[in-house]
């Protein structure tokens, strides 16, 4: 799949439209001209999520009521127009001019973004790594999104009940009220556990462990129930742990047992990279993981998501950029941004370079 055309209306400082190449697109320009905003627009149009903000409505221009992103996506012989309408209170998705539910909209333009924030996957807390795996699963197994949403909803209800119980004089009367929520947590939690373990196994198999350096990268799903019993019978184990922690959960006022406490270990020559890795090793590891995610995507859907690298020269050295672009060449549509004219010049031969000034295209060079 690739994005052949993108138009932005009342979105940040952008105006006009850009036609993209199916291969490498290099977006360059001085700082604060809108390079990153165009990349954000690509990602947001595809995923309905921004890599810059948790609240995409912030991207609506101040004097406007709504912002529109409109794109044309080509997959094989199929061309589809997709549109994301952002208002101050809602996000609406359209396919070929008609309103479409988000579950059928997602997947038309899948995107993977390598950004400064994304680095949290390799250096931040476990929640970032769980999200990384969950994103990969959702793009290849859409029903997983429903399972995850249900699990989080049950968890929220249970936590609310646990808070009341921890404040109550007689917590024992909450025991029977907790059971219905625990039953659902076990059913949904087991599904999530199995899906995540399976995905991480696939990631491990798809990794090119030494693509960027001599040290070898590998991954392992680390269940929070590890060492507590037989993970092979997860529902039974989870139920045991829930019983074991019932009083602790009430005392502390939130849920202690389940896959929302799991982690994914990313190891560099056997060491936990989030604790012991250099920032260069962490960057390499994240790229390796992103590329593995593309391989899995391709194995299942026989297509590639688009790949986005914001501010590429700030994040990666020349050597890594070269390896990355060589790896992606011929498979995925790639969008990179840079403030360095020299880098844009360097890729003139193999890319479409687009210069952005004041939010719109100032100059475009098409090769091939």
């Amino acid at each position: 799949m690739y994005l052949s055309h993108l138009e932005a209306i009342h979105f940040r400082n952008l105006s006009g439209a850009i036609d993209f190449s199916p291969g490498l697109n290099v977006i360059h320009g001085a700082n604060a001209q809108g390079k990153t905003n165009w990349l954000e627009a690509v990602y947001l149009l595809g995923t309905t999520k921004s890599f810059k903000t948790a609240h995409p409505r912030e991207a609506i221009q101040h004097q406007a009521e709504e912002a529109i992103l409109r794109g044309t996506v080509i997959s094989g012989h199929l061309s589809r127009d997709i549109q994301l309408l952002l208002t101050r209170t809602s996000k609406q998705t359209f396919v070929n001019g008609k309103r479409e539910v988000i579950t059928r909209y997602l997947g038309i333009l899948d995107a993977i973004a390598f950004t400064a924030d994304e680095m949290e996957v390799v250096r931040g807390g476990p929640d970032n790594r769980r999200r990384f795996v969950d994103r990969g699963l959702v793009s290849t197994l859409p029903s997983y999104l429903g399972t995850l949403a249900e699990y989080n909803r049950v968890l929220k209800q249970k936590n609310s009940l646990l808070r009341s119980a921890s404040d109550a004089d007689d917590p024992t009367r909450f025991f029977p009220m907790l059971e219905p929520w625990n039953d659902q947590l076990v059913a949904l939690g087991s599904e999530i556990h199995v899906a995540r373990v399976g995905y991480v196994e696939k990631l491990k198999a798809a990794l090119q462990p030494q693509l960027f350096q001599n040290e070898s990268i590998t991954v392992r799903y680390k269940s929070s129930l590890e060492g507590k019993g037989d993970l092979g019978d997860y529902p039974k184990l989870m139920r045991e742990r829930l019983e074991h922690h019932l009083k602790n959960e009430i005392a502390i006022g939130y849920a202690l047992v389940g896959p929302h406490r799991d982690d994914v270990e990313i190891l560099c020559d056997g060491y936990d990279i989030s604790r012991f890795g250099s920032s260069g090793q962490q960057r390499s590891a994240l790229l390796i993981l992103d590329l593995a995610q593309m391989v899995i995507y391709h194995q299942i859907l026989e297509d590639y998501p688009v790949f986005i690298v914001d501010d590429i020269d700030a994040e990666l050295d020349r050597n890594r950029i070269e390896i990355l672009l060589d790896t992606l060449e011929g498979s995925s549509q790639v969008f990179i941004s840079t403030s360095k004219r020299a880098i844009a010049q360097h890729y003139r031969e193999r890319a479409q370079t687009i210069e952005i000034a004041n939010g719109k295209v100032a100059a475009k060079v098409i090769t091939n």
């Binding site: 249900e150 049950v154 209800q157 219905p180």
Partner: protein
């Protein structure tokens, strides 16, 4: 300063309290009524007054009714050995539409939701247990069908009720889950609802 004269703003504010009505719809309804004839307005006022005066909750099943006990509870031709438990009165209407179910009902008026402060005490659960006690003049209840919504809160409610009711010696069943997960029975059509009832399983 108010956007409109005070009585208009007041009307708009009242409409906005209604579920599913936002500012724009409230405004539209208010302006419709401003243009309506006095007779049209009176009809609406009368309808609201009547529903508030005449409709109450059935003292047995908690359904909406204008006579107490309601027409289901009071009907000797219905099967008094079965009780179908629903969350809201409109869920009952959806089941009635199938014309396949001839037992009695029990309306909980909600589902368990700790986030919204709804626990067992906030639902009509105690009166359900009362109904399962053997009574001299009535046949014993043999089956309770749990027809709460197939979403997180409805599942938790069904699960809670089944643990509570089974020790009382009654057969407890759950409607079949051919319904999409996370859905509301309010939107289930007759065919889907019929299937859900026939595919019920023992909990």
């Amino acid at each position: 300063m108010l956007d409109y004269a005070e009585p208009v703003t007041k009307l708009i504010d009242e409409f906005k309290r209604l579920p599913g009505v936002g500012h724009k719809s409230a405004q539209r309804l208010a302006f419709y009524l401003l243009k309506a004839t006095p007779e049209e307005a009176d009809r609406l006022i009368e309808a609201i007054r009547e529903v508030k005066e005449k409709i109450t909750f059935c003292s047995i099943c908690n359904n909406l009714t204008d006579v107490d006990p309601c027409r289901y509870c009071d009907n000797p031709t219905r099967d008094h050995t079965m009780i179908c438990v629903v969350e809201e009165p409109y869920n009952l209407v959806a089941i009635e539409k199938t014309r396949e179910y001839h037992g009695l009902y029990h309306v909980l008026h909600g589902a368990l939701s700790p986030i919204r402060g709804i626990g067992p005490d906030e639902l009509k659960i105690r009166s359900l247990i009362e109904r399962l006690r053997p009574q001299d003049d009535a046949p014993e209840v043999e089956e309770v069908i749990l027809a709460t919504n197939p979403n997180t809160e409805g599942e938790a409610t069904a699960n809670y009720l089944s643990r509570l009711l089974k020790p009382l010696g009654v057969r407890v069943t759950r409607i079949g889950m051919g319904l999409p997960v996370g859905s509301d029975l309010e939107y289930a059509d007759e065919v889907t609802m019929h299937k859900a009832l026939t595919n019920r399983h023992v909990m």
